[in-house]
């Protein structure tokens, strides 16, 4: 109920903040935010952070083990599906105007090679989630894993930038990974991540609205804990 009231108040607040500019995209008349308007900025920034938080919660649930919930494999894939739904085009490639296929939404991860040099690997976000679940289910490396991320209050977000007819911002957060073997912590690290959040026009029960959709996720250097 509380969540519904918050959503309602945000929607009403957004309608009250409508700027004059409108465009037509896929048959939907979108009320465009004014990127120079501080209230518009704050509203969209808050939506972006909430969306990122939601994704992080799904990742925690997707990878939860006996110590923190022990979901079934089916449950894990339900959380994966819910997380994927938060991404632009559900993480898949987008067909560009010229008919060519663009890249899917990508997740960057970091590791160190034998020389101590940081190596970055980029893979589609869907594949990243599959690998996470596989790691948990197979228990080859760790018997128990905990993945936690920063709360909304600790996230930072850039101003909203216009890109063609769309809008984007970037949210930064930190992710802690703890892998255990039995009772012992075998590995723990902290990685700073930055994620692009796009705003996509969608029809909602409140009317036409800009909905945050997640894009590429970049990883900073990993710090061992």
């Amino acid at each position: 109920m509380k969540k519904l009231l918050i959503t309602l108040s945000i929607a009403l607040c957004f309608n009250a903040l409508q700027a004059q500019t409108t465009i037509v995209d896929a048959g939907i008349v979108i009320n465009m935010p004014d990127v120079n308007n501080e209230e518009h900025q704050k509203l969209l920034q808050q939506r972006a952070k909430e969306c990122v938080k939601q994704m992080n919660d799904y990742i925690s649930s997707m990878t939860a083990t006996q110590k923190n919930g022990h979901p079934t494999v089916n449950d894990r894939y339900k959380f994966r599906k819910a997380a994927i739904a938060l991404f632009l085009n559900e993480g898949d490639s987008i067909t560009l105007e010229n008919g060519t296929k663009g890249a899917p939404v990508m997740m960057e991860t970091t590791s160190k090679n034998s020389k101590g040099r940081t190596i970055k690997t980029t893979r589609p976000v869907k594949e990243y989630f599959d690998r996470l679940i596989k790691m948990i289910v197979e228990k080859r490396t760790y018997t128990d894993v905990t993945i936690t991320s920063t709360d909304i209050e600790a996230m930072d977000v850039t101003n909203i930038k216009k890109v063609g007819d769309r809008y984007q911002c970037v949210v930064s957060y930190s992710q802690d990974f703890i892998g255990r073997r039995g009772e012992l912590t075998a590995y723990a690290d902290r990685t700073k991540k930055t994620i692009t959040v796009w705003f996509v026009a969608e029809k909602t029960i409140w009317g036409d609205d800009l909905i945050p959709k997640l894009g590429d996720i970049a990883a900073g250097e990993t710090t061992r804990l």
Binding site: N36, I119, E153, A154, K162, S172, R190, K192, T194, T222
Partner: protein, 250 residues
């Protein structure tokens, strides 16, 4: 072009390795205090919010240190000048060290990127310069490739014998290769793939009399995130030289 890249490279090389004291266990508060985004750095600089705190503390040393004194002067000048850092400015740029694959072999190279406007409230990053040893197309040692003096009598048939790695052996003495054009060609022809950015720095020229660089420090201390890693006094003439070369102005 080369002069500018040398200047930038020398400037970057002033970076100091940091061995930070690690604090574990207060993840959220540490993360909250760090300068997580470049935009946050710019906001803090513009608000003149503890300018000395925007420096990599390991670089500063003690208050008696010359670097610390220079930083104090930098902060004083910044406050006095009122200079602001804005995303849309043409006087800042990114220096991205990239890891890529050239014909399947791992290579490192540098791309310099700047912000360009393409309409009202519309901006994008563009590649201004590329720098990498393999962009210079240096011919192999003892390469004797040349187009012989009478080649004109045989329809310059020898041109078909020029090997890829020897292409500069047949160029004019005064020919100056544009590494950025080579970069574009390699990407366009599928010879080079960019895999990821392994190191990222930003150079700012907005503050009169100074040039400074920031980079991100990943460490579990309160002095972390995007921090000033080098400062240097610079005159207007050298600033103009850098910017003119960046924007191909004659």
């Amino acid at each position: 072009m080369n002069k500018v890249l040398i200047l930038i490279t020398v400037f970057i090389s002033f970076n100091i390795n940091v061995y930070a004291q690690v604090i574990i266990g207060s993840g959220d508060s540490l993360f909250q205090s760090r300068i997580k985004l470049v935009e946050s750095f710019m906001n803090r600089f513009n608000n003149r919010e503890n300018l000395i705190g925007l420096f990599d503390s390991e670089m500063l040393g003690s208050e008696k240190d010359s670097v610390y004194k220079a930083a104090q002067q930098f902060a004083k000048d910044a406050t006095k000048s009122g200079a602001k850092l804005n995303f849309a400015d043409t006087s800042w740029f990114a220096i991205a060290t990239c890891a890529g694959k050239y014909k399947g072999k791992s290579v490192d190279f540098i791309l310099i990127l700047n912000v360009e406007t393409y309409g009202k409230d519309l901006y994008k990053w563009v590649v201004a310069k590329a720098q990498g040893d393999f962009f210079s197309l240096t011919p192999p040692k003892n390469d004797n490739t040349l187009i012989t003096p009478l080649a004109h009598e045989t329809n310059f048939m020898e041109l078909s014998r020029i090997k890829a790695e020897s292409i500069l052996s047949v160029s004019q003495k005064r020919y100056e290769l544009d590494q950025t054009a080579v970069f574009y060609t390699m990407i366009n022809s599928g010879l080079l793939n960019i895999e990821y950015v392994s190191e990222l720095q930003f150079m700012f020229l907005q503050l009169p009399g100074w040039i400074f660089t920031i980079k991100e420090f990943e460490r579990q201390t309160y002095n972390a995130g995007w921090l000033i890693t080098s400062i240097e006094r610079i005159n207007d003439k050298d600033k103009r030289l850098i910017l003119n070369n960046l924007y191909y102005e004659k």
